[in-house]
């Protein structure tokens, strides 16, 4: 491990060291609020280092060409996003059920954030898997730390077993990938597969498809895609809002990032299988998630189905990408499905993390808001928090001028473009029209349950409102920051959109890492 590697990994190191320090020192000073503040400082420092990294990165990367870390814009995008949601969850968790556990709680959140950052920057299977596990293992702990009742224990156990199973499936898929590529490095696998699949009838091609399906099955669990979604409603319902938010956001970002790195980019030649798999998964996931969410009365259960549905939208981006890159049509070469999926996952994360933080705020230590009816009268009692929740719900529906609208715009303009290209240039192109129509109609369906939350908050009064607003000012601050970001991205989407597109471009061209990094350096200089 050279000093260069250290300097690239410095943000992750800062986060992990902060977490370790909090663990150790927290044992002597439990139950103090300042551990949350310290964790925030750590995240901020990591973000600062990450932002400043671009200037040095060009020099670093030369020495690191053969390393397991991808010093590219996509890594930067995902790591930045990880730090952002990390800060939100640290804020939201500032007042957990059991105050003496504050240091353990925030430290564990930081560990999961570090795992997500590793996934974002990995271009090597082992490191990527390590990152995924570094998200999962802290999550098991968090699920136990959240609450101490039967439902909580059940949800933690359920999540643990299914998560372990999915890790095993993912690993099994990786083993085929290793067999096909002869290396754990993704760029080498990519080159090997491009060569091997010139003759498609080989066993290599068969194994590649097998690997693809297994990877989708394993990572489908992380992003809660149908039919690997069934744990989500039970687990979310059984835990706290903050934990549910973590589960809805961190593994989702990690899963999408890993799918982009592995399936979309490192596996040329299996696009057609990938296209079919993602399209079926997307159609099922969107529809089932949204339709079942209509019948839910528990907030977390409803948001669990909502997060399932949004995984379906993200898969649309991957499907678009598979289709566009299978095609030789030059008009489709600039269709950016990956960029759209990365954009979408960011706006989804902001709105989801924000709404869980807001719901966490509305509860009290003894009782959180559980059912939608508990929200009656919140619009009059907590106008600002209700407004923030309304912003999140409208954004998740995809209404302009909020961030979620541009996410849907990015995804569906890609899908429509592929759909219009015609069957001669893209296989299954007409299915993309179906996919877009199902997608937008799903958005209308989703409006029904998001509006229900808004309607109960604003249109119904309750003298015995269950909402106490005792979840701590940190949670409220987290919700407000997310709401502001959702509005800001909605009004000025250019920057995030360009970042996500640049991330996709640089991830797609690992051979040109240095060029991408040079571009980063330029951007940095320009600032």
């Amino acid at each position: 491990m050279s000093s260069d590697t250290v300097s690239i990994l410095l943000p992750e190191l800062i986060v992990v060291l902060t977490a370790t320090f909090i663990y150790v020192a927290g044992a002597f000073l439990p139950g103090k609020k300042f551990w949350g503040a310290l964790a925030l400082v750590g995240v901020a420092a990591a973000g600062f280092v990450l932002a400043g990294q671009s200037e040095k990165a060009a020099a670093v990367v030369a020495a690191n060409e053969a390393g397991p870390l991808a010093v590219d814009l996509m890594g930067r995008y995902v790591r930045g996003l990880a730090l952002l949601v990390g800060a939100i969850f640290v804020l939201a968790a500032a007042r957990p059920q059991n105050e003496s556990l504050i240091p353990e709680y925030v430290g564990t959140v930081l560990m999961a954030v570090a795992g997500l950052m590793l996934v974002g920057g990995a271009r090597e299977l082992t490191l990527l898997f390590l990152g995924l596990e570094l998200i999962s293992i802290p999550t098991y702990i968090l699920l136990y730390l959240g609450r101490r009742d039967g439902a909580s224990a059940e949800s933690a156990a359920k999540y643990f077993f299914l998560s372990v199973l999915s890790s095993a499936i993912t690993l099994y898929g990786f083993s085929y990938l290793y067999g096909v590529g002869g290396s754990t490095r993704l760029d080498i696998i990519q080159a090997a597969m491009a060569k091997a699949l010139v003759t498609p009838a080989t066993t290599g091609a068969l194994f590649a498809q097998l690997a693809l399906v297994l990877v989708f099955a394993g990572l489908g669990f992380k992003i809660a895609a149908v039919p690997f979604h069934f744990y989500a409603p039970d687990v979310y319902q059984g835990t706290t809002h903050t934990n549910a938010g973590l589960l809805a956001v961190l593994p989702k970002i990690a899963g999408i990032a890993a799918l982009v790195r592995i399936a979309s980019i490192a596996m040329p030649g299996v696009e057609e299988t990938g296209l079919r798999v993602t399209m079926i998964l997307a159609l099922l996931t969107m529809t089932l998630g949204n339709v079942v969410a209509l019948w839910q009365d528990n907030i977390r259960r409803m948001l669990a189905y909502s997060s399932i549905a949004h995984a379906g939208y993200m898969l649309v981006g991957l499907a678009v990408d598979f289709a566009a890159h299978k095609s030789d049509d030059p008009a489709l070469q600039d269709v950016d499905g990956i960029g759209a999926a990365l954009f979408y996952v960011a706006v989804y994360s902001l709105a989801t993390a924000g709404s869980f933080a807001a719901f966490a705020y509305l509860g009290s230590r003894d009782k959180q808001v559980d059912t939608i009816d508990d929200l009656a009268g919140v619009g009059g009692k907590f106008p600002a928090v209700a407004l923030a929740i309304a912003v999140f719900m409208f954004s998740l529906t995809g209404l302009p001028p909020l961030a979620g609208f541009w996410g849907k715009f990015a995804l569906f303009s890609g899908a429509v473009k592929v759909g219009l290209a015609g069957a001669e240039s893209v296989k299954l192109s007409s299915w993309f029209i179906v996919l877009s129509i199902v997608g937008v109609l799903n958005a209308a369906v989703s409006a029904a349950y998001y509006l229900r939350i808004i309607g109960v908050m604003y249109f119904r009064e309750s003298s015995t409102s269950a909402a106490r607003g005792e979840g701590g000012s940190g949670a409220r601050l987290a919700a407000f920051s997310c709401a502001l970001l959702v509005i800001a991205v909605g009004l000025a989407p250019s920057r995030l959109s360009q970042d996500s597109q640049d991330a996709a471009t640089s991830a797609r061209a690992p051979a040109k890492v240095s060029a991408a990094v040079a571009a980063v350096a330029q951007v940095g200089d320009a600032r």
């Binding site: 609208f405 877009s436 958005a443 209308a444 509006l451 309607g455 249109f459 119904r460 989407p493 360009q498």
Partner: protein, 600 residues
Amino acid sequence: MNELVVAILLPLIGVGLIWALADGSRVVARWIALAVSLVTLYWAAKCVLAKTLPSYNIPWFTSTGVDIRFNLGLDGLSLWMFALSALLSVTAILVSWEAIKERGPLFYSLLLILESGMLGVFSARDVLLFYVFFEFTLIPLFFLIGVWGSEDRRYAAVKFFLFTLAGSMLTFLGMLAIVLLHADKNPELGITFSIPEITAGLAKYPLSATQQFWIFLALFAGFAVKVPLFPLHTWLPLAHVQAPTAGSVLLAGILLKIGTYGFLRFNMAMLPVGTVTCMPWVLWLSAGGILYGAFVALAQSDVKRLIAYSSVSHLGYCMLGLFALNPLGMQGGVLQMINHGISTGGLFATFGMIYERYHTREIRELGGLARRIPLLSLFMLLFTFSSIGLPGMNGFAGEFLILLGMFQRGYAQAPAFYQWQWTAIAVLAVFGVVLGAWYMLWLYQRVFFGPLKEPADHGADDHGAHDHAAADAHAAHGHDAHGHDAHGHDASGHDDHGHGVAALPPSSVRDMNAREFWALAPLVVLVFWIGVFPQTFLAPMQADINAVSTTVESAYAAHEWPVKDSAVVAGSLPSPSVAQPQPAALDAVAAETLEFARVE
């Protein structure tokens, strides 16, 4: 700074002022809202009356392959709707003056946000910017209906939102398809979202007939729900009835017109072939809406519901005029958009004032009000006349042009196959005018003439008040809640009030006050102004409407119409737009038409 930008931003600044200054006081909030909306009206008028219509264009959302611009501008199609939005917003604020008792600052903020959205819709010249404003108007109206509406408000708000959203999501896909296909056909501009550029580009490189047809349907989904075109209208009566007066005024006056405006701006100007292909269907749906709306209006016992169904009928006229696809009909259609905004907006506003006095919408609980509130009754009468199209008033000019255009299309310009159908549609539309006079005048007779009938507990709390409002309202009025339940729906008990009463029984109900007068007066001026000098309003639109109608008419001329089976002429397969009917066939057509009208 550009006038358009000022006009759109001012209401939002007003929202900021309300939040900064009102501090929960509805009195401060409403004065701020009124002042801001008047200033906005001034700037909007400045935009409309400027010698060269203003425009504004800066990049908004730019990243690789995307160039969405904050591109604003007015032209003949949007000019008057833009102005009317600003005007009706003032009316909406004035009619809410006393009616809104709780959460005043929030109410006026939402009204101003809605105003900003409406001004944006009509001035947007970028496809996505239009869509953003189009969808954005849903949010404030959703809250206006849901929080301040009547007893069934939550259901109404949600139904309104979901219907519109479901349709407009498909519109969104259609718009994406237009933009992307245009970029394919006309690559030198790259992916442009500019409405004028796309319109010009698609005129040069038209899309294939199949593409136009499907995209037409996608756009149709959203716009037809918004209009609302029969049979997609079911959300409208509910929303109208449940909405607070201001919401009804703006919904009827402006928001429904976004649908017809969208048809004009997108379907007709960009997809002429698709428009012509679907035209026969749309004509029938419009005629169906005219008659259905009128008949259902006849059967209503609730004043607001009756006016709502009259909207369905009148919007049918707008669609009929637009889809006559000739300059006469389209001018009439656009003029009728404005007319309906004024007259139905006026009807809702006036009835809102009456509702404030009596707290009932039931026709049978009201009667002879002309004696009690003569001035308000006069205004109601004027708007009623305007709505049924009395000559000399605005409705006449619009309906006359529409019917003229439709007869011209059906009788003189139709392909043989459709001649009898379209003539029949025109005749049915005339029949609809008669029905319109019937239900409106009947309503007027029942409510304002005859023996005086007033609900006994008028002035008590809101009819079917909000559960949370009840306490406040009672405190404010000092009335007994139980009195309401006991007498509210018991109309028969009051009949004795009316018979042979020479002197009016004493009552706390006052006639119109100055605020109410000034809310309605501008609309009445417009009613007569448009009625007497329609040319003033038609002239600025003419060039742009003619441009659209030329586009669709050339597509119409090139369309292959189905041939009427055997009867039609060997040899002279006609260029359809000039096909003249055979004199002998004419009688048959007329007979058929009459028969059809009778059956209906």
